[in-house]
Every structure is written in structure tokens, then in C-alpha cells.
């Protein structure tokens, strides 16, 4: 048998057949030709008395090919009978060859499903003409995906021949029909499907709720300012620096509307001529504009060539771009909206590579579904969560203080909260994180306490003339030193502690 199969002719026929099979499997996700009985019945009712290529549709009825594959059969006013597959109906609606009666439009919002909707155009016009604001929700794969901005409406128009997008289509082949001019200067083009979806989403607001701020003009950038390097977290030795983007007015948008992305670019090295990979950290500012030339910086800590550019792909968007070394980028940037008409982009640097390395803990093994954070997925606050949030809050509070004495006091309170968190933990990940945090704090405390006691002794020596310390203060410092002694890791620390203890005694 193989003799026959493997002869030259049959071999090539088989190979061609295989390539053909691969070819026909390509449009596997094409729009379906048939639909369910229920949908076909509803679609037939919708198409009844409409127009097909300017001929009135007399009646439409449902036919089936198999048990679940339904299509339509239309009788036109000219007496002809046509078999209508669902994909063809979709195509004709897109090219206006199939028009519904009563100023309605048939829409197929999904490219894979035969789900359809009917846009009542008159309802749409009434809604959009009465709208004062438009809720723009960003689509999939946009950096602002799922987020919304409320923008002031200037004018609504039906696309005319002189409009640039007249008769042009979106990626699904649907024609743009309408344009909405917004007060910030941007234009929104809608297809029938867009109009249908926007009505469903209540995207046109006649009255805006009091707590919602409508963006009626763009934020215009005035200047960029450097924020110098400062310590952010002394426990992990994380440093913070920033760039402040100053605008012409208050920023009435929450910080999550200013996302970040990292873009990899292959650039030609001018010296060697070779392609070199470069990474750019970009912060996106929607509803923003760069009117004049804004000078950037060549260097700011690990950022290179910091500059502000206009986004060429999206309307009214600017990008704060900086070249970064990916090895230096351990933590993502953090955005703060200030009350002085500016946005601060905080960048973090750390030399501690273990920050992003997994600890050698059994608790971190992802053998089963485990939550990403120490918090349980349901929003109910557990006892552990209460204690852990308190501990984290205390640590952050301490880190913001300059007074070492106060810092140590708060760190002690945080240690207590961490102990409570560990005692109330319900999962390995929770107890592991609480103990990790405790150990990190304990390891840094001796150094901090030694420094504090040294400074306190010096201060006492300068302040008091007889050289004698207040017994209460001595007692307090001694207590701190005893704690430090228990967790001192080096011989040097131990020696220092014992000498400080003898001074205090």
C-alpha cells in the first residue's frame, strides 16, 4: 500500500490536499453563516418590510439546513425569492444594501457571533442632541482600557461627503456614520454598532451628577521639574526621585487615569551600526496637550533623555518618556496628583536585587491556586488583614518621620501589630509575609537604636551641665538597647551596644 501512496503523483496530491486543508482552516473564525432558530425568527421579524438593494422586502421566513443551522429566505417585491445566509446579511447591512424600515439600523456588534441589535436611530439622535457630556470608555488594548473620562460635548453631526472619514470603515468593515465634537477639541467617530453600544452604556449624559467633573478643556503642560533623590524605605533601602509635570490648571482626574508602559525599541547604534535594544518608560497623560516647547532633561538618576512628546496615535494625549536600563527598573513608577496643578511621577531605585527575587519558602510554592497578595479575594476584612494593614500603616508612618526616637517607637508598635497579624493568619502566605516583615524590621532595628542612643547621649551631654542624664530617659534608652542586643547581627554592633549600656548605667 505504501508503495502506491508514496509514488510521486499521489505524494504531491496528498501534500496539496494537506495544504488545502490548512488553507480552509484559516477562516475558522469567520462570521457564521447560520444561526439558532430563536435568533433567526427574531431576525426575520426585524427584516420584514425593509429594503434590499432598493427593493422592498415583502416577507422573510426562516429555513434550516440541519437541526441547529437556520438561515432566512426572503421574498422581495419584484417577486424574487432569495436565500439569505447570516454572514451575507451582515455584509449588506454594512454596505447599506439592506435597510430596515422605520429609520432603524441592524447591527452585529461581534465579529464571531450572530447576536444582533437594532439601533433606533431617532432615539439615538434625541439622546445625543440633548447630551451635555460624553463618557468615553477606552477600548481593549488601549493603555487606558476599561477606564472612562467624562468629556464635554460641543456638537454632533452626521458624516458628510466633505468629512475625512466619510464612507471609511473600522476594522470590522463597518462604516463610520456620525461624529461627535468634544469641548476638549477631540473628535469621536461612531458606526451604527458604536452608537448602539454607547446607548446601551448610557454614555451620553444630559445631566451630570454633582460629584462628577466634566473635562471641558485639555490640561496644558507648562514645565517639567526634577524632584531630587530621597530615602523612601530605610528597611529595604529604597530611594525615590521624581519628575513633576506642571499644568496650566487643576487636575480633576484621579491618578489611575495616568498609566505607565514600557516600550522596547531596537535602535541603530550610530557608532557600530548595529541594532541595539533600548527600553523606554512612558507615562501617559490623557486629555493633555503640549502647546510650546517643553525642555526635558538629559539625565535624572537612572532616567536618560527625559522628554515630553505628543502621542501621534491618540488625540489629546502626551507621553512623558525616559530611556531606562531594565536592570535598574525594579519597581514601577507611582503617580500622585497634587493640589498645585501638577502631577508627580515617582520613580524608585534600589540596589537590593532580592526585592523581586522569590524567597526560599515553602509558602511561596505555587502548587495550587493561591492568592497573589496576602489579602483574601473577598472584600471582607479579616482579623489578619486588620492587623497587617495596621502594621504596614505604622511602618509607612514611621518612615515619613525625621525624629529617630519617634520612628523607633512606632516601629515597636508595628512589631506588635505584626505579631498579632501572624497570630491571626489563616494561610501560609499570610504568616510567611508577617514573619518576613517582622524579621526585616528586627534586622534593621539594632543599627537604628544604636544611632538613636548615640545621638541622645550626645544631646544629653551638651544639654546638661553636670553630665548626668535624666533617669527616665536612661531607662528608656537602656530598654531599647536590650532589644537591640537581642537581635544584633554583628560583633561590632554587640560591642557598641555594651559600651553604650555602660555609659548609660
Amino acid at each position: 500500500m505504501w508503495e502506491r501512496i508514496l509514488n510521486k503523483k499521489i505524494y504531491f496530491i496528498s501534500l496539496t490536499f494537506f495544504l488545502f486543508l490548512v488553507g480552509i482552516s484559516l477562516p475558522a473564525f469567520a462570521f457564521p453563516e447560520y444561526t439558532s432558530r430563536q435568533k433567526a425568527l427574531k431576525l426575520a421579524a426585524v427584516l420584514d418590510h425593509g429594503y434590499f438593494k432598493s427593493i422592498k422586502i415583502s416577507s422573510v421566513f426562516v429555513k434550516n439546513r440541519g437541526q441547529d443551522d437556520y438561515y432566512l429566505q426572503a421574498i422581495l417585491d419584484d417577486g424574487s425569492s432569495r436565500k439569505w445566509l447570516i454572514n451575507r446579511i451582515r455584509e449588506w447591512t454594512q454596505t447599506d444594501e439592506l435597510i430596515l424600515s422605520k429609520n432603524r439600523a441592524l447591527v452585529f456588534p461581534s465579529a464571531e457571533s450572530t447576536d444582533f441589535g437594532v439601533l433606533e436611530k431617532n432615539d439615538f439622535y434625541r439622546t445625543v442632541l440633548n447630551a451635555t457630556a460624553f463618557v468615553k470608555t477606552f477600548s481593549k488594548h488601549d493603555i487606558l482600557e476599561g477606564k472612562s473620562l467624562v468629556l464635554g460635548v460641543l456638537r454632533f453631526r452626521i458624516l458628510q461627503a466633505e468629512d475625512s472619514k466619510f464612507l471609511s470603515t473600522n476594522k470590522l468593515g463597518e462604516r463610520y456614520r456620525y461624529v461627535l465634537e468634544l469641548e476638549n477639541g477631540s473628535l469621536e467617530y461612531f458606526t451604527y454598532s458604536d452608537a448602539f453600544a454607547l446607548l446601551q452604556r448610557s454614555a451620553f449624559l444630559e445631566e451630570v451628577p454633582e460629584n462628577v467633573s466634566v473635562l471641558r478643556k485639555t490640561f496644558k503642560v507648562i514645565e517639567l521639574k526634577k524632584i531630587p533623590l530621597q530615602i523612601e524605605d530605610e528597611l529595604r533601602e529604597i530611594w525615590r526621585f521624581g519628575i513633576e509635570v506642571v499644568f496650566d490648571g487643576p487636575i480633576k482626574t484621579s491618578p489611575d487615569r495616568f498609566p505607565y508602559q514600557v516600550v522596547e525599541l531596537k535602535l541603530k547604534d550610530p557608532e557600530t551600526g548595529r541594532q541595539k535594544t533600548q527600553f523606554f518608560l512612558q507615562i501617559i497623560f490623557p486629555n493633555s496637550e503640549k502647546i510650546g516647547e517643553i525642555s526635558g532633561f538629559k539625565n535624572h538618576e537612572y532616567l536618560r533623555y527625559v522628554e515630553l512628546d505628543t502621542d501621534v496615535e491618540h488625540q489629546k494625549r502626551i507621553i512623558l518618556r525616559a530611556m531606562v536600563n531594565p536592570d535598574a527598573l525594579n519597581l514601577p513608577p507611582f503617580i500622585e496628583v497634587t493640589d498645585r496643578n501638577s502631577i508627580i511621577v515617582n520613580y524608585y531605585s534600589s540596589t537590593d536585587q532580592s526585592l523581586t527575587q522569590p524567597p526560599d519558602l515553602l509558602a511561596s510554592r505555587s502548587v495550587s491556586e493561591m492568592p497573589r497578595s496576602v489579602f483574601t479575594p473577598d472584600q471582607q476584612e479579616t482579623e489578619f488583614e486588620k492587623n497587617y494593614l495596621e502594621a504596614v500603616g505604622l511602618i509607612r508612618e514611621a518612615q515619613a518621620l525625621l525624629n529617630t526616637e519617634l520612628r523607633i517607637e512606632i516601629y515597636f508598635k508595628a512589631l506588635k501589630a505584626l505579631k498579632q497579624a501572624a497570630l491571626s493568619a489563616e494561610f501560609d502566605i499570610q504568616i510567611a509575609q508577617a514573619l518576613n516583615q517582622r524579621d526585616l524590621l528586627l534586622s534593621k532595628m539594632p543599627k537604628l537604636i544604636i544611632r538613636n542612643v548615640q545621638m541622645s547621649i550626645l544631646a544629653l551631654y551638651i544639654e546638661s551641665n553636670n553630665g548626668k542624664a535624666d533617669p527616665e530617659i536612661s531607662k528608656k534608652l537602656l530598654k531599647q538597647l536590650i532589644h537591640a542586643e537581642r537581635y544584633a547581627t554583628t560583633q561590632k554592633q554587640k560591642q557598641k551596644i555594651s559600651s553604650l549600656k555602660s555609659i548609660l548605667r
Binding site: Q67, D115, E120, L199, R236, E264, R396
Partner: protein, 312 residues
């Protein structure tokens, strides 16, 4: 003798080419249908604000976006279509359940499994759930409580009138989507998770990175090629640099006809470093973005790679 050897070799090579071709085809076809859901059992979780209807079994979180929820004939009825789903007939024998607590919200739950042959000769299988409640409700998928072993729906009290465009008789789609207008209220825990430094104290460190590779390029099999490259050629380098194991958990196509110009790497919070290492290893230019909050959930994947047009 020599000539017969040559002939034999030629035949063998042809046999090999043909076998590989058919093997590729069958693997390709099986890969296109091999993932889906299996419903084993369900439970109704009581909650003051919104009770949850939770199904247990085996689920493919990557397919959660394809679940369709529509309002039924009345405001107390919802229909859910779970594509690529089977019912475990041993564990879940009943198809109509009415034995719910008297003071509970649910009245009736019906399950319907359908297996049909598609136009292309493939098999299409799905389950339709019809949920009837005593009060008006809005059924929504709860991604936070859904993962590879659970599929949870929340029965929420309707907040806003459902806007149905067009005549009800002709309209198939009646989604209730509410545009979020008010500034989002950030809870204490969210504030901690959002700040990079406090997030360090709260996120679990991973020792295994679950990666999904999705094709968003016009080239057929691009996701597969990238996955093979990651899994075979680059795996050791990546694992060494990231300090964790790399596991490809899903390879599939993006259904919504999305073509991306550049390959996009979506990463969950705390995984920027891992995403950067992946980007360095992958050929071409990549864009890295945190997973949008609207899509963010307790999905089994840590990183999603959408293979773009630029992937050669």
C-alpha cells in the same frame, strides 16, 4: 544495491513528510478545541448584599470573557451561555433544580448541555444555564471568585434601569453596562497594593510564572511558535534570570479579531521585572503594560503575551 538504498531513503523521507503533515494538522485541530470547562457541582453562597452562585469543576479562565450573560424573559430570569463546556453527568445529574431554601433568592436553576457539529466539521459544545430568582437581579460574573476550579456569579440588586435600544422583540442584545462616572473610591488595602513600596510588603513572591500566549497577529500559529521558542530554547535562560520556573499554561488565538502591531506583554502587579526579562529575550520590539484593572482578576495566568504582527 546502492540505488535501492536511495529509493528507500526517498520513500522514507516522503513518508516522514506526509506523517508530519497529518500529525501537525491533527495536533492543530485538537489544540483548537482542547480547552474548556467542566461543571461538577454548584452551591449558593448567601450574602447580605449579593449572593453568589458558585460552580465547582474545571475551568479555563482564559475563556471567561466568552461567557455570555443575557436577561431572560423577565427581570427575575437570566440566561448564561458557557461555551466549550460539558456537565459532569456523574456528579451533576439533575438538570432542573428547584430545591432551594425558602428564604433564599433562587427559585429555579436549569442546565442544558448542547453538542453540535459546526459548519467546518468541528464540534461545538456549550451549556446554557437559566437562573430564576424570587427578586429582580442582575447576574454578573465575579472574576475575583473565579479561577481554574471555580466559576462564580454574583446576583446583584439592579442599580440602574436596563436600557434596551430598539424594540424589545427585535433586539437580541440587552446588556446592562453602567458607565462608571464617580471617582473610584480606593480602599485601604487597594491603596497598599497600588503603591510599589507597600505592595512589596503585601504581594506573595512567586516561584513559578504562569504565562499565556495569545495570537494577535495575522499569522497563523504565531502564538504556538513563540510558546515553543520560550518553552524549548529560552526556558533555561529565562528561569535562571527570573529566579522562578516558567510554565506556559495557555496557547490560543484572540477571538475578537485583534491584530496588534507590536507584541504586548501584560503583567500582574509585582511582576514588572519578570516581564522585562521576557521582553529582553523575545525577538522584536515589545510593549509592556500592567493588566488593566477591568481585566484584572485572580486568573491563573501571571503574564499574558499577545503576539503581534511584528513577531517573525
Amino acid at each position: 544495491m546502492h540505488l535501492s538504498h536511495c529509493k528507500l531513503m526517498m520513500r522514507f523521507s516522503r513518508f516522514l513528510v506526509l506523517s508530519l503533515s497529518f500529525l501537525f494538522l491533527s495536533v492543530g485541530l485538537s489544540l483548537s478545541v482542547n480547552s474548556g470547562h467542566m461543571l461538577d457541582r454548584f452551591e449558593l453562597i448567601a450574602d447580605k448584599n449579593s449572593p453568589f452562585l458558585s460552580f465547582k469543576g474545571y475551568f479555563d479562565p482564559a475563556q471567561f470573557p466568552h461567557i455570555k450573560i443575557t436577561r431572560g424573559n423577565s427581570q427575575t430570569e437570566s440566561t448564561v451561555i458557557l461555551p466549550n463546556t460539558f456537565i459532569n453527568n456523574i456528579l451533576l445529574t439533575e438538570r432542573e433544580i428547584t430545591s432551594f431554601k425558602v428564604d433564599g433568592i433562587l427559585e429555579k436553576l436549569t442546565l442544558k448541555e448542547k453538542i453540535t457539529k459546526t459548519e467546518n466539521g468541528g464540534i461545538d459544545f456549550y451549556v446554557t444555564l437559566t437562573i430564576s430568582s424570587k427578586e429582580k437581579h442582575l447576574l454578573v460574573l465575579d472574576p475575583e471568585k473565579s479561577d481554574s476550579r471555580h466559576l462564580t456569579f454574583a446576583l446583584q440588586k439592579p442599580k440602574k434601569k436596563v436600557i434596551i435600544t430598539g424594540s424589545a422583540e427585535g433586539t437580541q442584545i440587552a446588556l446592562t453596562l453602567e458607565a462608571k462616572l464617580e471617582p473610584s473610591v480606593i480602599s485601604k488595602r487597594e491603596a497598599i497594593l497600588l503603591h510599589p513600596v507597600t505592595a512589596l510588603m503585601s504581594y506573595r513572591q512567586f516561584d513559578q510564572l504562569n504565562v499565556a500566549v495569545l495570537n494577535a497577529s495575522p499569522k497563523l500559529g504565531a502564538a504556538q511558535r513563540l510558546a515553543v521558542m520560550l518553552d524549548r530554547r529560552q526556558k533555561k535562560i529565562l528561569e535562571k534570570r527570573m529566579g522562578m520556573k516558567l510554565k506556559i499554561v495557555n496557547i490560543s488565538s484572540v477571538r475578537e479579531q485583534t491584530i496588534l502591531a507590536k507584541t504586548k506583554i501584560y503583567f500582574h502587579a509585582n511582576l514588572l521585572k519578570a516581564a522585562l526579562i521576557l521582553a529582553e529575550v523575545l525577538p522584536g520590539e515589545q510593549v509592556l503594560e500592567p493588566v488593566p484593572l477591568s481585566r484584572n482578576s485572580k486568573l491563573a495566568t501571571d503574564i499574558e503575551i499577545y503576539v503581534g504582527k511584528n513577531f517573525e
